[in-house]
């Protein structure tokens, strides 16, 4: 066996994937050729290095619970799916909205590779929403009050829809900052759940179909339409949140 052939097959040889005939050939060649023999040692060293580096990522335990629940299988531990171990005693829109922002911010942090600038924005936004009375800037269930309120405060006009007919109640709106820019937030409720709908203009004009994700018990759905980016965040279940999104997108 010649060096060229050997070098092509050396990986497979070390992996034990070569047929016997060629394995024997290579074995013989390695005894005679110091170059190929060194290459063989290099490959084995690399293999050992990878093994010793412990590069296997363990699945987080919460993942199994999510998957089991999604399939309808019993969860082996006692923890309930949507239970938050840090449920705050104060119920209400402000708490849920704060958490929604924080998790939305965490989501944005994870999606962006350079976190520093965004982190600062997010922290500012978060701290602002913690100030009592700052969850909702304009308190009104009337779309004809909420939408114009954004004029003069933002350089774009977000669509504000009345979805009372299908059980999503407009609560009000506020300004916020995400991704270094001011954004509109239109706040809805369904039963005890708050839905924050973040809206801001897109850089591109591309429409994008809705993409859903979830973070630690909160559901997020985002889409782009007619030059506006939308993010709906809530602890409402995905099915109803999708109804909300569908109605928004009409």
């Amino acid at each position: 066996m010649r060096c060229k052939d050997t070098r092509e097959l050396i990986g497979a040889y070390i992996d034990g994937e070569l047929d016997l005939a060629r394995s024997l050939d290579i074995e013989g060649h390695l005894l005679e050729c110091s170059i190929c023999s060194r290459e063989s040692d290099n490959q084995r060293s690399l293999h050992r290095a990878i093994k010793s580096a412990e590069l296997y990522f363990e699945a987080p335990p919460a993942l199994e619970k999510r998957i089991r629940t999604g399939l309808g299988l019993s969860i082996r531990s006692e923890a309930k799916r949507w239970s938050l171990s840090w449920r705050w005693p104060i119920a209400g829109a402000s708490v849920a909205a704060t958490v929604a922002i924080l998790l939305f911010a965490a989501l944005m942090l994870n999606r962006r590779q350079n976190g520093d600038l965004l982190a600062q924005d997010v922290v500012s936004s978060h701290m602002r929403s913690l100030i009592p009375g700052h969850t909702i800037d304009v308190l009104s269930t009337d779309q004809h009050t909420v939408k114009p309120w954004f004029n003069g405060r933002l350089d774009f006009s977000p669509p504000v829809k009345d979805l009372t007919g299908i059980g999503f109640n407009l609560t009000g709106g506020r300004l916020d900052y995400v991704d270094s820019r001011p954004v509109a937030v239109v706040v809805y409720t369904r039963r005890l759940h708050t839905i924050n709908l973040y809206i801001w203009p897109s850089n591109t004009d591309a429409n994008a179909g809705d993409a859903a994700t979830a973070r630690q018990g909160y559901n997020l759905i985002h889409w782009t339409k007619e030059g506006m980016i939308f993010w709906a965040v809530s602890d409402l279940n995905t099915s109803e949140l999708h109804d909300f999104v569908k109605a928004q997108r009409e």
Partner: protein, 185 residues
């Protein structure tokens, strides 16, 4: 008496759920992000259950990882298409990397972070092959099935991926390896 659906669920739980670790690990290496990996793994499992009726036995881990891999690529296409562009392969194919001392690979001293970064920087196809081989210890045949490519392609991707790793670990990117100039036997 249990319904067919319950039987299917029980069967799925026995055969496929135990490979969650492998599913997550592969998704984590391909998407390079733990939250994305969780989402992909979850979606892959939902799809797997949907297709479970067509699973005729055999290696359930391979079967599941085929779905995971496919779900990763689809997901990346939809969400992070710019990450799919292939990193230029810097290897020079016919070249001898002469003078590479195995000790230079510093196996016990290799920083885990350095290796992780090096693996992260491989193109997705090379990374996939290396992860399935080195971390999941799958055979070339299994890797070929999961990746949906011929055996020869698996061998090639592995060889090139490993070569790139070696170059990174020995600081070989700066080094120019000499063209072979010795006579071949």
């Amino acid at each position: 008496m249990r319904s067919l659906e319950q039987d299917k669920l029980a069967s799925f739980e026995r055969a496929v759920l135990p490979h969650l670790g492998a599913a997550y690990n592969l998704a984590r290496w391909l998407t390079r992000n733990e939250h994305d990996a969780e989402d992909v793994a979850q979606e892959a499992y939902m799809r797997a259950f949907k297709f479970f009726g067509g699973f005729r036995g055999g290696d359930s881990r391979s079967w599941l990882l085929t779905i995971v891999r496919n779900t990763c690529y689809t997901w990346m296409n939809q969400n992070r298409s710019r990450d799919l562009t292939t990193v230029l392969d810097e290897e020079i194919h016919t070249v001898e990397s002469e003078g590479l001392d195995p000790e230079a690979l510093l196996l016990e001293k290799v920083n885990s972070d350095v290796l992780k970064r090096a693996l992260d920087e491989l193109s997705m196809e090379f990374r996939e092959a290396v992860v399935l081989r080195e971390l999941e210890e799958m055979s070339y045949k299994e890797i070929a099935e999961i990746s949906g490519v011929p055996l020869g392609t698996v061998m090639s991707r592995l060889a090139r991926g490993r070569k790139q790793l070696q170059q990174v670990l020995t600081g070989g990117k700066g080094k120019r390896a000499r063209a072979s100039n010795f006579s071949r036997p």
